[in-house]
Each structure stands twice: as structure tokens, then as C-alpha cells.
Symmetry: C2
Subunit: 116 residues, 2 copies
């Protein structure tokens, strides 16, 4: 098991996640639900939903479609490691983000706001 | 590997964690650094420190002293599972919190604010 990512949820995101078995988050930058994989195809099938002891963190155990959770094309968002006081990217890019997020060449919208 | 807990850090907490190899968080309720285990003895020895892709979440891989990270006496804070629309505690209490946090019987301060 690896830790893939951390994102925000609101009540609606959690309800839809529980109902559909697919991870849904709340994108604060977009101000709307973010159905993980909606752009990248990298959906997350939810195996289990857990809550922490003070009830403010939800933990999803998922099967990561495509093995890529991160918008950089890596398995996990936690690909940087602290080494001698510096953050060093230690995990490989599995797929070029340009290939993951390729759309109509005329459509450059949303490029600043990739969320997987 | 299990996910044990989520807590806040500030710059000072991260710096001390990196310097000492023991997990240090920032307790928002106490308004000060929280050296995990300072009350419970359940220290965390840090094996690796990672950062996520947008640089706002730090991941500590730790050895959990006593095998108990949660103030409820459980291994992990994520002991509740969503089952048929309800949160159900599914993991066992390994040690009675009263035993973990026992102090001078006259000292009842901080009981509302156990943080492990």
C-alpha cells in the first residue's frame, strides 16, 4: 500500500464517493466537485472509506486506475524526499502529463489547473 | 504500512522533525509544538520525510513506538469504517487511554486535550 494523494472533500463529495464507489473530491481552485479521473482517465475505485478519531479526515483505500494518481504522471503525489535538507524527486514519471491531458490543440483552457 | 494519523506542522515542527528524527507537529489547540509521545511515550521515529506535488502536505514514514498512534489507544487514528452509511469502529483498543495518560491523580489538566 502506498499513499497516493491528499485532497479536500465536502459533504457532497463524500456522499457521491460512497454512493458510486469512485473517488470524488472538492476542488477548491475550481469551486466544484472533482471526479478524480474526469480529465486524465485515472479514476480511483474505492475499496474502503475510513474516518479518523476526531472526525475531520477521511481516508480512501483505492485501486488507482492506470497506476497514476499524480498530475505529474507519477504513481503518487509524494514523489519528493527530503535528502540533506533538500527536496529531491525520487520516483519516476510513468507517463508524460502532456500525453495524459492531451486535448484539442486549440483548447488550452484549464492547463493551469490540472487536477488529474 | 498503515496510515496512522494526520496532524498539522509549521516550519519549526518540520525543522525539528528533520533535525531530531522524531516526529514533531504543531498543536493548533495548544498553540505550540507537539512532540508526539511527550505525554503518552508513543514517540515516532522518522524513517523518511516526503512532500507532495504542490508542496503543501508532508508525509512522514515512521516507526511507531508502542504500536499506538491514536489517543484512543488504537494503532491508527483511522479505526472507523463506513459500513452501510454509518461509521463503525472496526479496530481494537490496544491499551486503555487511562493507562496511557495516567498522571498524578490530582492533575486533571489537559484531559480535554489529549494529543498522544
Amino acid at each position: 500500500m502506498r499513499i497516493l494523494m491528499v485532497a479536500w472533500m465536502n459533504r457532497e463529495a463524500l456522499a457521491e464517493t460512497a454512493a458510486t464507489g469512485r473517488a470524488v473530491y472538492f476542488s477548491r481552485s475550481r469551486g466544484r466537485l472533482w471526479r478524480k479521473g474526469e480529465e486524465s482517465g485515472h479514476f480511483q475505485r474505492v475499496r474502503e472509506i475510513r474516518l479518523d478519531c476526531d472526525g475531520d479526515v477521511v481516508l480512501l483505500e483505492v485501486e488507482q486506475q492506470g497506476g497514476i494518481a499524480c498530475h505529474t504522471g507519477r504513481h503518487s503525489c509524494f514523489f519528493s524526499r527530503l535528502v540533506d535538507g533538500r527536496w529531491v524527486a525520487v520516483d519516476p514519471v510513468l507517463r508524460d502529463p502532456e500525453a495524459i491531458y492531451r486535448k484539442d490543440a486549440n483548447d488550452v483552457s484549464g492547463k493551469e489547473d490540472r487536477n488529474g
